[in-house]
Symmetry: C2
Subunit: 297 residues, 2 copies
């Protein structure tokens, strides 16, 4: 097979954790870029990125990394994205992009080239964004294996992610904490019998603390709105349990079972059981939005 | 290798769904019993069990199935277990047993011989139960690949399962219902972007509705107790989000991450990512307690 023509000459990665290092590996594997320059906040991570050979150059300053790059991707917790944007901003096309993929692991060693295959990458270009820049960025994500969806507004993105990702994470974080504080049940018992359902929550609740702190602070309004609705629904089911209303419980449980079929049908999961041992399912910790900045000047 | 000596001569399975059919397959594969007689509530299931060759005999009456069996396992939703016990009760050693394993699938086609391998089976023999009967039942579950744990009381079992299994299921059922009712986010969007964390909840919330209705009705007190604690903890995290208290969020998230390591360390899950595609993790829907009745007279 002929080598594909690289879409970009130089990719700058600001941050090389799970996502940044997966982008580096996938972009290399797919021949999507000619060279990669990377930067990370700590000397230890920069050293590790160099050791792993994830980039052609590892530099200290974000501004220096962005200089001469025709694609800059910010793969950092959302709380520091604004600051980073200032350092690299002049004269670029700014296209917010969010690959909805991940694992509960962090750091440059945790990434892998297949992370984005079959997953969605959501673009929310502000009105008036250069159409060619958006198209080229979409082509880049497709080259990495992702499906690309463009949403009309960042606000809509925030609502969709609040329910599909942020609320599930908040709840998983809560229940894992609750289990850990119980007087009547030992931690060892919780761990032993986690195959009963709890285990999936521990995976989600193992996602990166810094990233998730920033997600909840940045998307506070949408998360609080979803929490309100969730609490009403939980109260309704709690009342049904308290009153012994088996019919209401059965009706609800039968409805949610149908929704699962939808997830399997559209290929976001497989129906095959795997015993949860050799191949655990992914928590698919969602990611902060790496802000992709495409500079084609 | 020499064939192992069967532990029991005739195993009677009352109910042949996911669990009953997995027991049948595993008991056959391991040579744990000489013959299997099975019964199921509906003619359709009895027909299917016969077609699949899961039992040497498929009969209609629970009493008839139990007659002449030296091990009877009731693998039915907890709500009908009492009634079944009356039909098969005379002169047996009664040992409540709960294999903490499962998937979100139901019915005789859903079972597989490896379901219990590496999973825990909890026994809660009432005081004064014949020790030899308990030992023999424990040996049976070990032959199927399970680890066996004996708990001092059914009440303690109910508390442990309320937090490790029942509450996670209730919450998953709730959030999947919440997502489905939202006006601002379409169902198609929820399904598409489910890799962000929601997907794991859909798997748990796809578990058998009848079984779970019965679990919540039967274990109401322990579930309501755990719900109370969970709600307090969720309120605390909600308040941290509302106030923008990043430090409290980070501290909580860092703590839950450590608990995940415990689950991986004791072998109830693997750290390897699998992209959630070819080999999705199991919801490991916990099961109602199939009451194992060992008749050695």
């Amino acid at each position: 097979m002929a080598q594909p023509t690289p879409l970009f000459n130089r990719l700058a990665l600001i941050g090389v954790g799970l996502i940044g290092s997966s982008i580096a590996r996938a972009a290399r594997a797919q021949g999507a870029v000619r060279e990669i320059v990377a930067t990370a906040r700590t000397p230890a991570t920069r050293r590790r990125v160099a050791e792993l050979g994830l980039a052609d150059q590892v530099v200290e300053s974000n501004g220096a990394a962005a200089t001469g790059a025709d694609l800059v991707i910010v793969c950092a917790p959302v709380g520091v994205c604004g600051e980073i944007a200032k350092e690299i901003a002049p004269g670029v096309h700014f296209v917010p992009a969010h690959p909805v993929a991940g694992t509960e692991h962090s750091g440059p060693d945790a990434g892998f080239a297949e992370l984005f295959v079959g997953r969605w990458c959501i673009l929310t270009p502000p009105e008036g964004t250069d159409a060619a820049a958006v198209d080229k960025l979409a082509a880049f994500w497709r080259m990495l294996g992702a499906n690309v969806e463009t949403m009309a507004s960042p606000e809509h993105h925030d609502l969709v992610l609040a329910i599909t990702s942020h609320l599930p994470h908040l709840i998983a974080y809560t229940i894992v904490g609750t289990a850990d504080e119980l007087a009547e049940v030992t931690r060892s018992e919780v761990l032993k019998f986690s195959a009963g359902g709890f285990r999936d929550f521990t995976r989600i609740a193992a996602s990166d603390p810094t990233m998730w702190r920033d997600v909840f602070l940045a998307n506070k309004d949408a998360v609080l709105e979803m929490l309100g609705t969730f609490n009403e629904d939980l109260s309704r089911l709690t009342r049904a349990i308290r009153r012994g209303d088996g019919e209401a419980l059965f009706e609800h449980f039968a409805r949610t079972r149908a929704i699962r079929r939808g997830v399997v049908e559209i290929g976001q999961d497989s129906p095959a059981p795997d015993f949860g041992r050799a191949h655990p399912g992914l928590p698919e910790a969602p990611l902060p939005r790496p802000y992709a900045v495409s500079d084609e000047t």
